[in-house]
């Protein structure tokens, strides 16, 4: 059997599949569907400094093979997260990858400083797909300077044993350029892709459906975009681990990401269809790797760049 363990930037996880930020809350609700310790870990909904109400409803629209969401990072804030959610995961031995989000570079730094004292944080995912209130609402992830300042500050304020993953947005002209600058700023790896910006209009009222007007598109519809982005980043930074995501529904989908250069995968939207999808995808992926003769996941990482199976 293929060894299920994967090592991401020096930290070992039990398996190659994770939940995706915002698609598993803080894990608890999925525990009724599968054993959270069997997968790589839970990537939490992005946490901010303070409680946040999110956007007005409607917050979602189903689209062909996908969905749009405009949740607006609703959450309880870091204090409540540390008091309630992180201990729940830690007590059960579930690996916690904490996603953080901010509106200013300083807010990310603050969050990192607070998490520094938390031994139960296995890794940090830095969600930089947020509007930078100090830069006309331009999304951090869409600008080389903003993206790298956030990463730089988070890296400076995080213990060196805890890797930080920059969560990249596909809504840029060159994802490789953003990745390179984040890597130079200290990112130990990348999570990609975040949702891509989309919109739907109600054909009766002729108004945007979402309370937030535009929203993030996710699900199988965007999978080919996600695989391409992973491919491009692995091409320029073949030694940097990638947590790949975007429309993964099956082990075969996950294998596409691994072959394109991801070391592990997150299952997001498809968890709404099948709450045990993260574990199912992991089992299917391991089965496929085994059939193809890989002793470990890492052997298969980026194999499509090296001529595939021979």
């Amino acid at each position: 059997m293929t060894d299920p363990r994967v090592t991401l930037a020096g930290v070992e996880f039990a398996g190659p599949a994770f939940t995706a930020s915002g698609c598993a809350a803080a894990g608890k609700e999925l525990a009724g569907f599968f054993d959270l310790t069997e997968i790589g870990g839970v990537v939490t909904k992005s946490i901010m400094m303070r409680p946040r109400s999110g956007r007005p409803t409607p917050r979602m629209v189903e689209t062909p093979s996908g969905m749009l969401n405009s949740i607006g990072l609703q959450g309880p804030g870091i204090e409540s997260f540390l008091a309630n959610d992180l201990p729940w995961l830690a007590e059960r031995g579930v690996a916690a990858v904490v996603s953080i989000a901010g509106e200013t570079v300083e807010e990310y730094a603050q969050l990192a400083r607070i998490l520094r004292n938390e031994p139960d944080v296995k890794a940090i995912e830095v969600n930089i797909s947020c509007p930078n209130v100090e830069s006309r609402g331009q999304v951090f992830a869409c600008d080389v300077m903003s993206a790298s300042s956030v990463i730089h500050q988070v890296r400076r304020n995080t213990s060196s044993t805890v890797p930080i993953f920059a969560k990249l947005s596909p809504d840029v002209t060159s994802i490789a350029e953003i990745a390179l600058s984040c890597h130079n700023a200290g990112a130990d790896g990348f999570s990609m892709i975040n949702t891509t910006l989309g919109m739907a209009i109600d054909t009766d009222t002729l108004r945007p459906i979402l309370g937030g007007v535009t929203g993030g598109l996710s699900g199988p519809a965007i999978r080919p975009i996600a695989v391409r982005n992973v491919w491009q980043v692995h091409h320029v930074l073949p030694d940097v681990p990638i947590l790949g995501m975007g429309g993964i529904a099956t082990g075969e989908d996950a294998l596409q990401f691994i072959a394109a250069g991801a070391t592990a995968v997150s299952v997001g939207t498809m968890t709404f269809h099948d709450p045990s999808a993260p574990l199912r995808v992991q089992q299917e992926l391991l089965g496929l790797l085994d059939e193809r003769g890989f002793a470990s996941v890492s052997e298969a990482v980026g194999v499509a760049h090296r001529g595939g199976l021979v």
Binding site: G22, E29, R52, P56, T57, R59, M60, M67, F272
Partner: protein, 278 residues
């Protein structure tokens, strides 16, 4: 809460709706009125569809009944299934109606297919010695559901339609107001469109009755992980929060839901943009 492949036992047209029944081993045991089931539809649609559980029998391994209004592609796909087809279901989900601890007279109000969860509720209330009157309303006669069955499980049934094509012409709040005016009914249970729930909550409050309302918000996951299904609800601490209707609902106390603000984030909500601009 169980996720299972369920065999469809029957699909039967009834006016504007369809009765569907499917085998659901194990689910019936945990069922209480107000719970819902989330059903996966065809490959082209990745999100599940939510339906109130109309009834759950524990016989023959367990079966669930739902009422489906074929509105969009997912529900239309569902009502085209035939006996023997397999669907994937997750149930029971959500917070059910809370039952009174005393044998008090209750009023149950259902709009359209919203009567679905009320039959079992009526049975359980009567089993506790509660009196049960049911108000069944709809836009027109075709969209009235379950009047006959309502009679079987209650002491009295009141029927209203907007166009007068069946029962009394008017809104469910017309008979509700008359019944509550008797001053005997401390508890109201309602399920139906949001506007109806708001009106029922207001009339109940007016007469000092406690209303429990099963709301219907657009849901992506149904299990509490996505945060799409929220509405502004006032907590025990008096603070308004955007609360998930799939896990903290679908049943809420009518006086806790800020009905007029549904679809907005009121300025005084915990963590609202306004609250944060300090």
């Amino acid at each position: 809460m169980i996720q299972a492949d369920a065999e469809i036992l029957s699909v039967r047209r009834d006016g504007a709706y369809y009765h569907m029944s499917f085998a659901a081993p194990g689910i019936a045991d945990g069922f209480r009125p107000g719970h819902f089931v989330a059903i996966a539809v065809d490959d082209a649609h990745i999100l599940r569809r939510a339906f109130s559980i109309r009834s759950a029998s524990t016989k023959a391994g367990g079966a669930l009944q739902i009422i489906v209004s074929p509105k969009g592609p997912g529900t239309q796909w569902l009502v085209r299934r035939r006996a023997g087809d397999i669907i994937n279901v997750i149930a029971p989900l959500g917070q059910p109606f809370r039952l009174p601890t005393e044998p008090v007279p209750c009023v149950l109000v259902g709009g359209g297919y919203g009567v679905a969860p009320l039959f079992e509720l009526a049975n359980q209330l009567r089993a506790r010695g509660c009196g049960v009157e049911i108000i069944v309303g709809a836009g027109d006669a075709a969209r009235l559901h379950g009047v006959v069955e309502a009679r079987r499980v209650s002491d009295a049934v009141h029927v209203t339609t907007d166009d007068g094509s069946a029962g009394e012409q008017g809104r469910v709040t017309d008979p509700l107001r008359r019944i509550l005016a008797e001053g005997r009914h401390p508890a109201v249970y309602a399920c139906g469109p949001m506007a109806m729930l708001q009106a029922v909550s207001e009339v109940s409050a007016e007469f000092g009755a406690v209303a429990q309302c099963a709301v219907e918000e657009s849901m992506a996951c149904g299990v509490g992980v996505c945060m799409t299904c929220v509405l502004p609800v006032i907590g025990d601490d008096g603070v308004t929060r955007m609360v998930r209707s799939c896990t903290e609902g679908p049943v809420f106390f009518g006086d806790r839901v800020r009905w007029s603000d549904v679809g907005t984030v009121p300025a005084d909500t915990l963590g609202s943009p306004e609250a944060r601009d300090d």
